[in-house]
Amino acid sequence: MTQNLYRLIYLSQNTILGSNENVHKEIEQILTISRQRNAASGITGALMFNQECFAQVLEGMHDDIQETFERIQCDPRHGDVVVLDFEPVDARRFSQWSMGYIGYDTLASKEFTQIQLATGFDVKQLSGERIYDLLHVHLYAAEKAGSNLEKIA
């Protein structure tokens, strides 16, 4: 049962302090390390950031997600983690990305902010599906447009 394909969608608050540049640097580091680790443990997914919040999708085997999530949980660079969705899925939708990234100056990130505004930042009202689709659509769109998604946006 624990060797099935699962997906996890969660939100968390950014707790990185300092200038934009500093935040940027930290995120770059998060991406580098998570891409290495995810590739090693068969995790794919995407991360979105809009200055305030992180939204992340992870896809992989149950136990690998569990282990990755435990590591993420202990990262002091974010807080108030809310799991929107953790459920079995038939197939991966982010299989090309060990950790695709959508940064804060993108259209998707602005949409993310708007969704948050519309729900009054009440995470309980946010749908995992909506975040999932948002990430998915925008990663594909960006890929078509030829931008290098494995680089920080």
């Binding site: 699962y6 949980q73 799991v83 459920e87």
Partner: protein, 556 residues
Amino acid sequence: MIYNSLHQSAIGEHKINNRQSQRSAMNFTAIDSSCGLAWVDTAGKIISANPAFLNLLALPPDVADKTLFDLTTPLNGSAPDLLRQAIAGQHTKTIKLTSTVDNKTLHVHVITCNQEQRLIIVESLSSSNFSQSVINHQAQNHSPVPLANRGMLNECIANWKPDESGAASLAMIMIGLDRFKKINETLGHDAGDQLLKFAAQRLLRIVRSDDFVAHFSGDQFVVLQINQNQPVAATAMAERIIGLLKRPFLINGQQANISASIGLAILHQDTGSSGDLIKHAELALYDAKHNARGSYRLYEQSLQENAGEQHDLEVGLRRALFLQEFTLFYQAQVRMQDRKIVGFEALIRWEKPGAGIISPVRLIPLAKETGEIHEIGKWVLHTACREATTWPEDIKIAVNVSPVQFENGNLKQIVQAALSASSLAPQRLELEITEGLLIKNVANALEQLKEIQALGVSVAMDDFGTGYSSLNYLSSFPFSKIKIDQSFVHRMQIDKSRTLIKAVITLGSALGIKTLAEGVETEEQFEYLAHNGCMEIQGYLISKPVPAEQIQALIS
């Protein structure tokens, strides 16, 4: 014995560190033991080892700063790989090796004490009784939690010595998972074990390398901080831990959420001796759990005093029956149409010598907790029945029965015994039960109530409206009376309360059940209740609870 020397060195000689030198501290080189002892880092680099360790594993004398795996070539087959995995992992593991020196079997215990360092203990099976040790015990029991256990924690504290500078400190952070039982119940024990394991891993990830993390008991962990700036370090760590354990866990395809409460005890800050650390941290944890779950509490002496007071009360309660410190007071219940007294509710009163009157609000929960409730309940029934026989025959006696008293399944026998000992007519006895009774094991409780009712005793539903009552209960059992809780009567100036009172009275009359309002204090309340069809009342307007001797005066 082995542990004494081990921890003396590990902790006693451990100087106050600044962050840079954290990794240097523990020196085993001088420990003369038949067991091999070593500290290594997760890459297998030897930080310190005693001579037995070198002998048993056939290592060269100068191992400082060398990596264990580079040196273990004399070991057989897969041993180096197993050892490497054990050291890199976070689980306490025992590996069996065959010594290349004398072909004896070696047991190598790899113990995680913090994120960055492992304690390795090597025993030659013929050389000691070490297999009796706590660690081995833990390894053999396949504890779900990869941590040092309570025995090791005790040894660690017992052998700690303050630094000569006097600046040394020892702080115990005792962590209790809230609602852990519920996880076990709803997701299963396997999920519970996984959660404990993840919680342990989270702790290991955030502690400093010279902190000591232990699994204290079922859902309790301890982080011991050695020689840090207190209470700053302990409170900061407590906050961090609370935040961290509040974050969701993913278990068996589901999300599990818990919280943690923490008790802190710090040496030389209200805790005089290291031997009291555990007790004090537990008291502080107990206080945090009871007053504000998900928070931390620093031990202070008043907690001990409260605990002492609680203990006195417990001891006092155990002998109160024997010393005849209980009495029954009786509060009149009157019929509204003519204000005639039709019954009395028996209320227990405990006058504890030296402490005065102990409120039922404290007495009843304590009696439930200690189990005294059964004997006390029996005494109340016997006494109330006996005293009621001296009253006119048209006056009933109402006795409260706690849900706990249904647990033994012999309440009917107790009621029967009280009736026959006093020769009170069963029709004059009414038991008052609370809605709470019917939450757990409804079928069994109803079964017992029916048997009691078959004796001729009536049963009233007490405190109606305060619990989680379902209207179903009212139709599934022939209650003789619904007692409307006094909180509704007290809030009668509020529309909603009045509506509710009216609804309950209507409900009662529709089901053919009498209604009684409790806590009636004013004529105005009386008028409203009478106007709306309530049949009986009880409260200060008529009479406060009085001792048995004053009943005759009330009746006449």
